[in-house]
Symmetry: C2
Subunit: 168 residues, 2 copies
DNA sequence: TCCAAACCCTTGGATGTCCTAGTATATTGC
DNA sequence: GCAATATACTAGGACATCCAAGGGTTTGGA
């Protein structure tokens, strides 16, 4: 699945769009396709780094989120909102993290509907180690120049706000 | 799963990273996380537009790829390489597209190992209609400014080349 | 010539995501 | 106070992605 192609398939697609009379949306199409592909590449790198820890990106994200919560615990619906994934995805991740002994479910003290997810000691330790690995092996050598990083944060931040991700 | 958050969770994460002594990689982490989230938003829009056509993004991509091939047919391994997905993902997509009558498998004329995927007439028609819908409803109103589109294409193009996606 | 290595596709299994529906608990309104 | 509505989580199902392994076909070197 891996050898480099002789030509950029996205640039080719953009030319195809123009050739078929869709020149007005060819550039945004190319930009969006590039985002999809870049995400795929980055996710692959991240999963590769996390694999030795027995973690996937989805589980890592939850672990990291918990590790930054003051108490090390969060309601499931809060985690779902912050991670911006469907509640059932959180249920799934918690099931597996709990099986691995990294988190535990505990009842909410006042709301009987709510379940709290709580980091165990091993969970907290693993989150720390996995974060260190990601920082060194992925974020520290992203391949984006410093100015490009700023541009991405600006452009995508504006996009996310307009898409209704957050107020501000 | 949908109300806007009061604050940008990625900006919060970036602050958390800085607070924990990872200031040197906090910005790339934020940029990468923003790419992941942006991809998720865009994929959601795309799937929403394709749903009425009975297509998913994976199936649409294959259909579109075939519709741009001169002969309307491609070997499966070629499709796998161009779409940059695992061969088994192509097998899966072709199974479903074939069930829907949009493509057919045919043997390669000279290489007995290879299977060609070929568009049917319905497949070609549906590809056209789905592309028109995506152009109008997603690419035509991406929310990215024209200069931002250029920046994204430039930054992500460089990234993909350095990641080994294509030579050039 | 002929057999081992390389290549192509598919099957089976693990994960993750979403949606729909169902159960349990809280909150609201009359 | 009690019924109607809203909220929180989970079970089951549809899809997609990857990896590992298996069976058929081609290629290439001894």
């Amino acid at each position: 699945m891996g050898n480099p192609l002789p030509r950029d398939p996205i640039a080719d697609a953009q030319r195809n769009w123009e050739r078929h009379g869709w020149g007005d949306v060819a550039a945004p199409m190319a930009a969006i396709t590039a985002i999809m592909r870049t995400q795929q590449i980055l996710l692959g790198r991240i999963e590769g780094v996390l694999k030795p820890f027995g973690l996937t990106f989805a589980r890592y994200e939850l672990l990291a989120l918990l590790s930054f919560a003051r108490s090390g615990a969060l309601p499931m619906n809060k985690a779902s909102a912050l991670l911006q994934v469907h509640p059932t995805s959180v249920t799934n991740a918690v099931d597996r993290l709990q099986d691995a002994g990294l988190v535990v479910r505990s009842p909410h003290p006042t709301d009987g509907r709510t379940t709290l997810i709580e980091l165990t000691t091993e969970g907290r330790t693993l989150a720390k180690r996995a974060t260190a690995a990601l920082n060194t092996e992925v974020f520290g050598q992203s391949g984006f120049g410093s100015q490009d990083v700023d541009q991405l944060i600006r452009i995508l931040g504006k996009f996310r706000r307009e898409a209704g991700d957050f107020a501000g």
